[in-house]
């Protein structure tokens, strides 16, 4: 099962999935609020924290009666997958975390990579870029109201997201702190750590490897935060190598 991260949808896996099609059943999905998901299913209550997103994964597992799931999550989806696997370990056999971070903001004795004001700056940049949206300037409290014009726009453009939903996802992501949950994971995990990734710096990869019992850490040559898009071959190779040994 491939889970997209913040800022995109299942299309981001298009360079990776063909390499696994022959030997695995591939499950791709958009979180509620992203891609072509049913926006009317979005409730701010549910998606104000990562638990609501983890519930999306568990709902899919339950509905499709899955087991032995190899969960591949990019960025924040690594932690979403972890929360799902802690709650219902029975569904999962392995977690593959691409550019994971349990906490983005620096803390005493912990390097997450960001100060709180950096994240506030990101939220501001996002808001500015959404100003062109038809409904953006109207005050909104609920995310439930249907807007056909907006939905049209959404289906037409790639990786677009409703601005309010994107903002809430950004808050749920970048203000999350799942460090306490790491020791609860019993599913074996592969950590793919990019070199020179501002969003999940090297320290975070080592921190995770140390806290996740039975985890494997691979440092990638790929730079940036999206190795599955910038260096798909390396990403595929490392996943296959890991599954050859652990699955």
């Amino acid at each position: 099962m491939f889970a997209h991260g913040f800022g995109c949808d299942q299309n981001m896996w298009r360079f990776i999935t063909p390499a696994f099609e022959d030997h695995y059943r591939i499950i791709l999905f958009d979180y509620v609020g992203a891609g072509k998901s049913d926006l009317s299913a979005y409730t701010p209550e549910r998606y104000s924290s990562l638990y609501g997103y983890a519930q999306d994964i568990l709902d899919i597992c339950e509905e499709m009666e899955l087991s032995d799931v190899i969960f591949v999550g990019h960025s924040v989806s690594s932690m979403i997958g972890l929360l799902a696997a802690v709650e219902q370990p029975g569904y999962f056999s392995n977690l593959i975390m691409v550019g994971p971070s349990p906490c983005y903001i620096n803390d005493v004795g912990y390097v997450g990579g960001f100060q709180r004001q950096d994240i506030e700056g990101l939220l501001e940049t996002m808001e500015k870029n959404y100003i062109g949206w038809a409904n953006f300037l109207a005050p909104r409290i609920m995310g439930n109201d249907k807007n056909p014009e907006l939905e049209q726009e959404l289906t037409d453009s790639f990786c677009s997201t409703d601005p309010v939903i994107a903002g809430q996802f950004a808050r749920a992501t970048f203000f999350s702190d799942n460090r306490e949950d790491l020791s609860k994971l019993k599913t074996p995990a592969l950590i793919l750590q990019c070199s020179d990734d501002i969003i999940a710096p090297m320290e975070v990869g080592h921190y995770l490897h140390q806290k996740l019992e039975g985890s494997t850490l691979k440092i990638m040559n790929a730079k940036g935060h999206c190795p599955h898009m910038s260096e798909p071959e390396e990403t595929i190779g490392l996943i296959k190598e890991y599954l050859g040994v652990h699955a």
């Binding site: 800022g7 299309n11 409730t43 924290s49 700056g121 501001e124 500015k128 790639f158």
Partner: protein, 395 residues
């Protein structure tokens, strides 16, 4: 000549390769950022990005470029050499250049747009805040939340009670009527039948049926008591409870070879007696349905977040639950029975037991607003998973 036009174009220009190294810049760009062309050539393009811009680039612009080949009307902030922030409106395009992929960018500085936008965003936020902070709205919302939580609890209760009622009528029609029918039958025969010596057997049958009847009534009594008693919650240390249950089991059946492996279980809010009964029945089951000489049981307690709403759709409040997994490698059961297992007097195995233990477990878990599930495989394993709220809601 043309180079001069490019250098002094009324827009900033920069381009970089996929490894993020800067390829080309123009004078306008350099004078705006305070760098020289030489300083920038080959440098990481993120040198001129603020941190927010770097995140935004990684989580958004990168995808657009990779998928669409271009990105338009992007609002970002550039970082000048003197750390000044430069709000710009940027268009970017990917193209092949000397067999490499180059991202070519042009931008204009938009300090005024930023001012207008700041005002727009501030106005929108003010409107939103005004709406949100409308005190009456907030109050109504809190009240609604409380009612919803209460309603959900009531719905759980009604659903559970419905289920109990159905089971009760089943018990009355089968488990109670059958021995009663036998007693009447043999008593009638005793009354009318000759010769007398046949009566010995009938009396024994009446005895057996009456004993069955007593068993069922005893079980029902316990069941009703658990269903009807209002639980008094307090802090319960489950590690202590587990020890108490193990002593209890070993006291009752010293010959029982039970091997327990457990992590440290936390303190939760609950009814001490009921929680002890819950663990007792789950472990008793594991010991009873062992495979081989020893019953090996693994107990794992994990604190997880769970939606507290169980009956109402689209209501969410995530709170801490203890997820307690009790797994044994015993004779297991056919997973087809995993739901019916918790019914009253449901027995998959003939022999000892009354088929009441798991039904009691279900009631105890319901009393604590939690849930219980079973899974297993015949001759392999059985695993019971219990979710109990760490704190009980005091509505």
């Amino acid at each position: 000549m043309i180079e001069q036009l490019f250098d002094n174009a009324p827009c900033g220009y920069f381009s970089f390769f996929d490894d993020r190294s800067i390829f080309l810049t123009n004078e306008t760009f350099c004078s705006l950022t305070g760098y020289t062309k030489e300083e920038l050539a080959g440098k990481d393009v993120e040198t001129v990005f603020t941190i927010a811009t770097r995140i935004f680039f990684q989580t958004r612009i990168f995808f657009m470029l990779k998928m669409h080949g271009q990105a338009e009307e992007i609002f970002i902030t550039l970082l000048a050499k003197d750390k000044q922030h430069l709000p710009v409106l940027l268009n970017a395009k990917r193209l092949a250049w000397q067999e490499r992929q180059l991202t070519s960018c042009a931008f204009i500085v938009v300090p005024n747009r930023k001012k207008f936008e700041d005002e727009l965003v501030a106005a929108r936020k003010a409107a939103e805040t005004a709406l949100r902070e409308n005190s009456e709205l907030v109050k109504a919302r809190t009240e609604l939340e409380q009612y919803a939580a209460e309603l959900d609890k009531q719905m759980q209760l009604v659903n559970n009670q419905n289920l109990e009622l159905k089971q009760f009528s089943h018990v009355v029609t089968h488990n109670l009527k059958e021995p009663l029918r036998k007693i009447i039958l043999y008593a009638d025969r005793l009354h009318s039948e000759q010769p007398v010596h046949a009566g010995e057997k009938d009396i024994a049958r009446i005895h057996k049926a009456a004993f069955q009847l007593k068993n069922v009534v005893d079980a029902l009594q316990q069941y009703v008591w658990l269903t009807e008693s209002a639980p008094a919650f307090s802090a319960v240390n489950l590690s202590d409870t587990l020890q108490a249950v193990l002593e209890q089991l070993r006291g009752e059946r010293p010959e029982l070879p039970l091997e327990i492996q457990s992590n440290h279980l936390p303190e939760i809010e609950g009814e001490a007696g009921q929680l002890q009964l819950l663990l007792y029945h789950l472990l008793h089951n594991a010991a009873k349905f062992k495979k081989g000489d020893i019953a090996r049981v693994k107990i794992t307690g994990t604190v997880v977040k769970r939606n507290t709403y169980r009956e109402m759709e689209n209501k969410y409040r995530y709170e801490d639950f203890l997820r307690l997994e009790i797994r044994d490698e015993g004779i297991g059961f056919d997973p087809a029975h995993k739901h019916s297992l918790f019914r009253l007097f449901q027995k998959l195995q003939y022999g000892e037991g009354r088929g009441i233990g798991l039904a009691l477990c279900r009631i105890i878990v319901n009393n604590h607003h939690g849930s219980i599930e079973a899974d297993g495989e015949l001759n392999k394993f059985a695993v019971f998973t219990v979710w109990l709220p760490m704190k009980q809601a005091h509505v």
